[in-house]
Symmetry: C2
Subunit: 348 residues, 2 copies
């Protein structure tokens, strides 16, 4: 089995820690390995380093190579610019030698967290079997534990294997409103779309030829003239693998993934997975919290001191500090927009 | 008239901006001149630079000289270590040439703020006249505008001059409880002790000889053997000029000072004197405040960004950030104690 780690994203939700040149997947949010490194680590020993491909952008190349010295450098693919997930996945598969792309390929976002890597590998191996034995395109779905309105949902059709929970996917349901999300959770027939796909490489390329012919032709052009990558890649159609391909398939299957998954979509989401002190405070780095509760204090550089605060996120980097109520930490995007509007690109 | 600026204090109330080597009086809290520089500036043109003396410590010498290039270097007196105000004032007066100490001397803390320097100079000149014409030791008193429990009060005796408000001081009243403070404010016969004194230099030395004989003898010893300063000064008795001398005098007079005085005793006190935006936020440095109100945001280095917070003080320096509710900003001392307890001297 080959793995493609998608590591070209520009995740800004952890500003001021995340920056254009240091997006979320390159951050060690829990203080040890980066999310990219943990994504690589949790594949071991199922998918060894020589079968791992990383798709990222030229801007992030140096740091990705530094973080993953085990991955063969020629398997770290550099997009001249991001063209969304369909192009990244198609190009990565097309870049593999024939014997690799004729086998099973797993696609993994580089910026998610999984608390139980062993459970993840188990489900990934089951998905690979389903691809080989049943000729399915597989997606791993996360069992929803709250009526989240920020994710897409997979609506399940018939169950194919009660022992593993393998099911066909009836259809994709995009980000629902709160009432619909609650109904999805209650129904028990919906999973969160975690962006993890498993398929036979050649099958994917065939499906792209059928459903995304312009993209498919562009990828073949690049394969014929790899020296023109810089010129051709930016012209590839930009579409997500979900919208562009997966939603159109009638042989899409899914397995429920139960491994402490989090997409770490905000500072609040990070606070939920960190160990907390007796007052409910999570901390990273050199922090002193006095009479403080339910807060997340992050010192990427220097020292953070709080006295008498509650429910706050405080993040200090060398050049900036952010203070925001924890339940509003999704609104970091408002800050990014405000900084951009004020021409403060150096802070982004 | 000569001026002695007492600039040896170790003010830590503006941590993390104030540090041992950069105490409050050396900070430009309003973003321009430091409190020490403003203390010097507001004496002009009444007391020119060649009549200004600064008493500070060896540790702060370089920065004090840098901030006050106008003051003759030999008039920047360096205590080997701080021995409280009686020693600092006595030593400064004894260090003046005879013709200077036979004249009027004003003693000024280096870390107070006055909104109206002209009014201050007017009252100072009146105090000098009272010293010369009535042979009084003078202290300038601040008319209390709130029942402050953190200051000492001067209880007034008979009024000597209705045109200026010149009065004798009946006695010192140390930091009162809240009810007593309110009674003082209501009575109208009490002023805050602002630590500003005006006297004839030789009179002060005579009074020290009478009331603080050990200190007086120590100062004479230093005058006889100035080369032994490092050895003799640390042995001087440590007492404040208020307790050690002023409280014992029966010829103490006072003039009410009405010049927008603040001792800037906390971040909250600074917030009160800064200009605020439409939401009541004061800021110093590079600050972005979104949906934030009634807060004080200080960026000594880099950028401070707040979204959705209220009534907070946030201060960023290169190596630290402090977050504390504005009304608890007096409790910075708790933080200093906690850092000291944890052996974090490098942050103090």
């Amino acid at each position: 089995m080959q793995a493609i780690i998608l590591a070209g994203g520009s995740g800004t939700r952890f500003w001021p820690l995340s920056r254009r040149r240091r997006p979320k997947q390159l951050l060690a949010l829990e203080g040890k390995r980066s999310l990219l490194q943990e994504t690589f680590d949790r594949l071991q020993p199922l998918i060894p380093a020589q079968s791992v491909w990383v798709c990222t952008t030229t801007m992030l190349a140096e740091e990705v190579r530094r973080q993953l010295p085990e991955v063969p450098p020629e398997q770290i693919l550099l997009e001249p610019e991001g063209r969304n997930t369909a192009a990244a996945i198609g190009w990565s598969v097309r870049s593999m030698p024939p014997e690799a792309r004729e086998g099973v390929v797993a696609v993994l976002p580089a910026d998610h967290r999984m608390g139980d890597p062993g459970a993840f590998r188990g489900t990934l191996a089951q998905a690979a079997s389903a691809v080989e034995e049943r000729d399915l395109v597989m997606t791993l779905g996360i069992r929803p534990y709250r009526p989240e309105t920020g994710y897409g949902y997979l609506e399940l059709a018939q169950e194919l294997d009660p022992s593993t929970g393998l099911s066909r996917v009836e259809r994709f349901r995009e980000k629902p409103d709160a009432a619909t999300a609650q109904a999805f959770v209650d129904a028990g027939r919906y999973l969160w779309n975690g962006g993890i796909f498993v398929f036979r490489g050649t099958t994917l390329l065939d499906l792209m030829k059928e459903h995304l012919p312009e993209l498919s032709e562009g990828l073949e052009e690049i394969a014929r003239q790899p020296e023109r990558l810089q010129e051709l890649y930016p012209d590839l159609p930009s579409t997500s693998i979900d919208f562009g391909l997966m939603e159109k398939l009638d042989n899409l299957g899914t397995l429920p993934l139960d491994c402490g998954w989090s997409d770490l979509g905000s500072w609040e989401a990070l606070a939920e997975i960190l160990e907390v002190d007796g007052s409910g405070n999570g901390s990273v780095g050199d922090v002193l919290a006095l009479e403080t509760s339910d807060s997340l204090l992050v010192a990427d550089s220097g020292t953070v001191v709080a006295l008498g605060v509650e429910g706050l996120v405080v993040v200090k980097t060398e050049d900036a500090v952010l203070v925001i109520p924890k339940e509003r930490s999704q609104e970091v995007r408002t800050i990014i927009a405000a900084l951009r509007e004020r021409g403060r690109e150096e802070l982004l």
